[in-house]
Symmetry: C2
Subunit: 405 residues, 2 copies
Amino acid sequence: MGSELLSGRVDTHTSFLARRLAEASVTLARSTSVPDELPAVREAVAAAAARADLVLVCGGLGPTFDDITRDATASAFGRSLTFQPALYARIVRRYRRYRMRVPSNNRRQAFLIGGARALDNPNGSAPGQRLEAPGGRPVYLLPGPPSELKPMFEACVLPELMRRFGGGATAARRVFRFYGVAEAACDQRLAPVLKAFPDVEFTILADLGLVELHAAARAPRASSAQARLKKVEARVARAMGSAYYSREGDSLPGAVLNLLARRGWTLATAESCTGGLIAAQLTEVPGSSAAFRGGAVAYSNALKESLLGVPAGVLARSGAVSEETARAMAAGARQRLGADAALAVTGIAGPSGGTKAKPVGLVYIAASVPGRTEVVRRVFPGDRGQVRRRTATHALGLLRRLLTV
Amino acid sequence: MGSELLSGRVDTHTSFLARRLAEASVTLARSTSVPDELPAVREAVAAAAARADLVLVCGGLGPTFDDITRDATASAFGRSLTFQPALYARIVRRYRRYRMRVPSNNRRQAFLIGGARALDNPNGSAPGQRLEAPGGRPVYLLPGPPSELKPMFEACVLPELMRRFGGGATAARRVFRFYGVAEAACDQRLAPVLKAFPDVEFTILADLGLVELHAAARAPRASSAQARLKKVEARVARAMGSAYYSREGDSLPGAVLNLLARRGWTLATAESCTGGLIAAQLTEVPGSSAAFRGGAVAYSNALKESLLGVPAGVLARSGAVSEETARAMAAGARQRLGADAALAVTGIAGPSGGTKAKPVGLVYIAASVPGRTEVVRRVFPGDRGQVRRRTATHALGLLRRLLTV
């Protein structure tokens, strides 16, 4: 909550909660962020409780001076705050388990709002709280760190949500993902599909070359909502053709790994400007070790030669950022890392290192499978991070194409 | 805006805007997210314009059916929407430049709200808009994709903000980052520092082992705000000692790279369970090639032997996830990749692969510099992604310690 938004890390609450609430058939009527100041939090909590059937207050339960959610919420409903020795004992036990000294300010976390019930936090020291606003509307106080918030939401909040609001209709959700087609073109190809399902809720999202279609179907029974989405999928697949990759896996790396596994092929990576990003995306997928052998991050020319066997003559003649080097890196990755397929990238991610002939954003991507190697040249817009992410996405998209034709 | 929050990707607006607004001395009074439905957006825009001195409406300017921000904002202020041939020509030119067919629904993006001025979007097809609500309060419509929103904010919104609100006092901001100390202990050690600067605004944040202290000082002149933060820094450095790493670089990888460069040392990585994540974090830092030579992602035992020279006997005797293997991987990385220092990790990120003796979350991390190698064993909580990120953070923290003692 509040000033914590300044960090650029905490602000994933809303998207997580919106998604999980939608899956539980609950509409997120409004999400409000306010600074970590007592009057602002108090006013926001009171206003939310007056408007909504259930309120989630996220963050501000820590031990530090700016953690004022307990005080602000107690004040919003005219309740007391009392120290709970049993709660404090649990916090102290947690510290002892990790052999840490208990800081004295952790006492603040053992204060409970009058009428509230404490919620166990197995992943951190801040207990959550559940109280009822006037009229019996539940108000939940949840810890801010995503690694604590998410499990507590699943364990403590979701069951009550399902019980209270999930009775009428259940919702099923699916995300269809596309690569290699612009958002507007996607929208046009999907328009007749969306029109055919007026009862299903759709949202289209796009960024950095990927497009997503979110679909939510509601029905009295979960099985009929699922059946409806199966029909949506058939139409989506027909309309989007090979651009629709998420039938093969939840993510683009997941789709590539599944296509490889289907053929019994292994994969190796050889990365220069992406510096391990492609390998990291592939290995984020559980079970990736079935197809992914490993990779080389060859930033320097010397490592391109020694790790990947790129001939010194190629580097001297064409330069490190060239079609010939990308091709040699892919061949080297297959041979040296003992894999059937390879992805290799070399480029200039910036901000420095660009020239007129080889500008920042220039990348060569080589994808290689048995009997076929393809190299593409691209100049990607954006800063260093964007060029790297676009390159990784494009590389995986290229390999997927070689695996589906 | 709105339903786009469901994606889990778009929700970085608020944190970005809150930070940039704070730097411009502007308080983000409230941030509201509503579903992509016309009445909800209309009501939220009208309420914001009645309350705030300046309103930013983010997202919903795309070409697709659910992009309703233009319509909702026009409706909120009782304005018309008219097609602008000149705007449309600019959109068409953009498509032609990238040799793409212009989808007919892109016409929607060429509609301007009555009295509004179009804002150029060099990074996408959706132009922004600037209009004035009753009373002359500026309302900005900005595109949703971060790669389009951020540059447009900097180019079009920030200058007006500075002109309108930046006159009285300017703010300076600093983020101090800590590693190796729990949030509550951090708070205790910082408490006297914060008390000594009642005029400075502080926020503490923590997740996955890292703690941040954000400080904002306001003063009539930028130089005096900066001077105030210099004094804060001196006290923070004294209170936190070696836990304070951001004096050495903006991020933990940045700090490590700077410490290496100061000694003229190079670095190589050898990763198993993190699968390239450490190399990717290091190479995200501009100029990392000065110290980072490259890395090996050795998922399989065969690659641990062939790429890193881990003796087959070590793998057979101690197993791939062991102190001995981590140590051999680090030695191999230094030797085979020709680097002065090395980081090596091997572990079980899960969700499968764990045993009673070697559970999911078990990792061995080896950091090696000339004359010294240290190996630590940790069992990290959390899911696959959390274990991998904690391991990467811990590995960089371990190497930093070897470089600062």
